[in-house]
């Protein structure tokens, strides 16, 4: 069993990895969006997510360095230690391996078509909003502050992505068909959002309320979009504890290339 400090660090890494990987995925649309304004929108969201992940990584790095100073080194062997001993936001993002990443599986899936990308964004943003609403009450003040700030941005992400779900779901036969395919592709990765792993248990998150509120909100949008929530789907888990789909390795290969090829290079 991990102590509280380790649990908080792992939880921060989970939040950081999740936002980093989704940011990386969305940024693949840069220059490829269906029209210029939407290209800008998805990359803006990507930037917001990157900013959030930086805040989480910075805070995690600070806590890791502090606990290292307290000689608690044994438990910290896998926090991205490269050359030199100081952990930074960069070493956490660039020097950890696939099995150390704790992002939700949903975020690492390929973008698919535009419908699949915006459906994922909507399902994730709605979840993130409700989760961060809980976390802004967290007794850890820095975690609460990061989430409070991010909520303002997430509000816009929900607004934008839910409009797209309506437009495509209740659009042409083809757009609707594509949304149905997207729902089918993504749904089995929703479950792990609401299943606590070890390091989450002391974070005071009410996952049952989170799941219910999320389902309620999504249902309203889906009904308006003439879509429906699938029932009794098999749910794939593993992302939070480092067991990923084959996709993450490819993402990290690209994301970490520079630091791996030229260690300690500076921009």
């Amino acid at each position: 069993m991990q102590n509280l400090a380790q649990q908080l660090i792992n939880y921060l890494l989970h939040l950081a990895d999740t936002t980093l990987i989704l940011s990386q995925r969305n940024s693949e649309w840069c220059g490829h969006g269906p029209v210029l304004e939407q290209d800008i929108a998805i990359t803006n969201i990507s930037l917001d997510l990157l900013g959030q992940s930086r805040n989480f990584y910075q805070y995690a790095a600070q806590l890791i360095n502090e606990s290292k100073n307290m000689q608690d080194t044994k438990a910290l062997s896998s926090f991205g230690e490269g050359v030199g001993s100081e952990i930074t936001e960069d070493s956490l993002a660039y020097l950890r391996t696939e099995r150390e990443f704790k992002n939700l599986l949903l975020t690492e899936l390929p973008n698919g078509d535009w419908g699949q990308t915006i459906l994922r964004q909507y399902l994730f943003s709605q979840y993130q909003y409700l989760l961060f609403e809980q976390l802004q009450q967290n007794k850890d003040e820095q975690l609460a502050a990061i989430c409070t700030k991010a909520l303002k941005e997430i509000k816009y992400h929900i607004r934008w992505s839910s409009e797209w779900v309506l437009r495509l779901g209740d659009g042409t036969p083809e757009s609707k068909q594509r949304m149905l395919v997207a729902i089918n592709e993504l749904w089995r990765y929703i479950g792990e959002m609401f299943i606590a792993v070890d390091y989450e248990k002391e974070m005071n998150i009410d996952l049952i309320a989170l799941q219910n509120n999320w389902a309620e909100k999504v249902d309203v949008i889906f009904q308006e979009a003439t879509l429906s929530i699938p029932k009794n789907t098999f749910m794939q888990i593993g992302g939070k504890t480092g067991t990923h789909t084959e996709n993450l390795g490819f993402i990290l290969t690209e994301l970490q290339y520079m630091q791996r090829a030229y260690p300690n290079s500076q921009w």
């Binding site: 304004e37 939407q38 800008i40 929108a41 803006n44 969201i45 930037l47 917001d48 997510l49 990157l50 900013g51 959030q52 930086r54 805040n55 003040e141 820095q142 609460a144 502050a145 990061i146 409070t148 700030k149 991010a150 303002k152 941005e153 816009y156 607004r159 934008w160």
Partner: protein, 166 residues
């Protein structure tokens, strides 16, 4: 003590000359980024320590690193050596902290200023900064930078940025 007060005033004045790199008509005081300036006379003989406390606008705003460097340079140029810049997240920045002067300058520059948070709705009525018409249309929730949305005036046809309520 008197020197500390004078210096504090001078630093605020210097900060008012640091421009936002993305919206250069605004300085960082107009934006409400600077939360406090603390001048403390540290140990005797060592002079004073200056702390400038800033808060980021948007989480991912790439201008923040730039602003931090600009503040550093400005203080160094003016003979301050012993200082630090602290970034705080709480309370979270809001467009309500933007000064009236800042909002006026934004509009003159061609960017519609943010509504107050109390008046914010999902579909706010935005005035065209060129012809003041309220007959405007949202083109995209996201504009050229994280803080702006894209609108078009239906009367004078001019597209423009709206500084989003945040």
């Amino acid at each position: 003590m008197v020197k500390a007060l004078l210096d504090k005033e001078k630093i605020w004045q210097l900060l008012s000359t640091v421009a936002d790199p993305e919206v250069p008509v605004l300085n960082i005081l107009d934006l409400g980024i600077v939360r406090d300036v603390i001048v403390s006379s540290a140990l005797e003989g060592l002079g004073e320590v200056v702390e400038v406390i800033i808060t980021p606008t948007y989480t991912g705003c790439p201008a923040m690193d730039m602003i931090s460097i600009d503040i550093k340079l400005k203080l160094l140029e003016n003979g301050f050596k012993n200082f630090k810049i602290t970034s705080v997240l709480s309370p979270a920045w809001t467009t309500d902290w933007m000064s009236e002067e800042g909002k006026r300058k934004l509009k003159e520059y061609g960017i519609a200023p943010p509504h107050s948070r109390a008046d914010d709705t999902a579909n706010p009525v935005i005035e065209c900064p060129q012809c003041n018409s309220t007959n405007t249309k949202l083109i995209s929730q996201f504009g050229s930078t994280a803080c702006k949305a894209l609108y078009q005036c239906q009367d004078c046809k001019e597209p423009f940025d709206y500084f989003k309520c945040h």
